[in-house]
Symmetry: C2
DNA sequence: ATTATTGTATTAATTATATAGTACAAATAT
DNA sequence: ATATTTGTACTATATAATTAATACAATAAT
């Protein structure tokens, strides 16, 4: 379970801070597959925000297939593998990488610099 | 010279579409160093937007040291090398990498898969 | 010097975003 | 069956972002 914290000073909206902390929780292994998240009400009380703010965060993650919400029972880390064929997966990854590199190039960064940065990112996650 | 086009359907604001097209124009070599861009008025007429919308795009690129504006004479692609401190560069690359990883992660890709794909991309370039 | 051309500044109106208040609907537990 | 617990939907409000209308200021051309 995560210890959720909101910081109003950062400027990033509350619902996005919640999203980030869940994503990071999954990436770092603090949140396990199938685990139940706090209910929208309990987390809303804990963070002193409206329950819709929590619901919005959960909703966006559900659309991204990261969470699984069931009205009446709760919200869970999605068990299901994302259903993509290997071909679709390959196409998708090429697609987003190409788009990303276009942006990176327009800022004058090289592939090596980018890869290096991502590897750093990788180390900090673990 | 670029053939500027605005698409209201995409949802990305006009001034940002203009920024992107200039950035890509430079990255792809369509815009040369020192070249003059259309005046804020002429581009505004061409794109059927207010001149302030164009001015806003130019302004942001000027702040980023990509354009060079001179009241009375016009706006030009900056001759000077882009002066980014190592700190600014670091911040920028972290910024775009973080955004990219969020997207990649939402598709279920791991950092290793992404790095691998980018390395492939790299090989095909050379 | 004067005029035309260029970017800038100020203000207003519109639109989008973020959060909250409250009522609803589905699932579960009893 | 009914009450409780869960997420959802709808509405309102405040704030920020986007675009526009219009006047201003600096430069260049004559």
């Amino acid at each position: 379970m995560i210890n959720f914290v909101l910081d109003p000073k950062t400027g990033t909206p509350f619902y996005r801070q919640i999203i980030d902390q869940i994503r990071f929780g999954i990436a770092s292994g603090k949140l396990e597959i199938g685990e139940q998240l706090p209910t929208v009400r309990s987390l809303a009380v804990e963070l002193k925000v409206n329950l819709n703010t929590v619901a919005k965060a959960y909703k966006e993650l559900e659309i991204q297939n990261i969470l699984d919400t069931h009205q009446g029972s709760g919200t869970f880390i999605n068990k299901n593998e994302i259903i993509l064929t290997e071909k679709e997966k390959q196409a998708k990854i090429q697609d987003i990488c190409r788009e990303f590199m276009t942006i990176a190039f327009s800022y004058g960064f090289t592939i090596d610099e980018i890869i290096h940065e991502l590897q750093n990112h990788n180390q900090h996650e673990n």
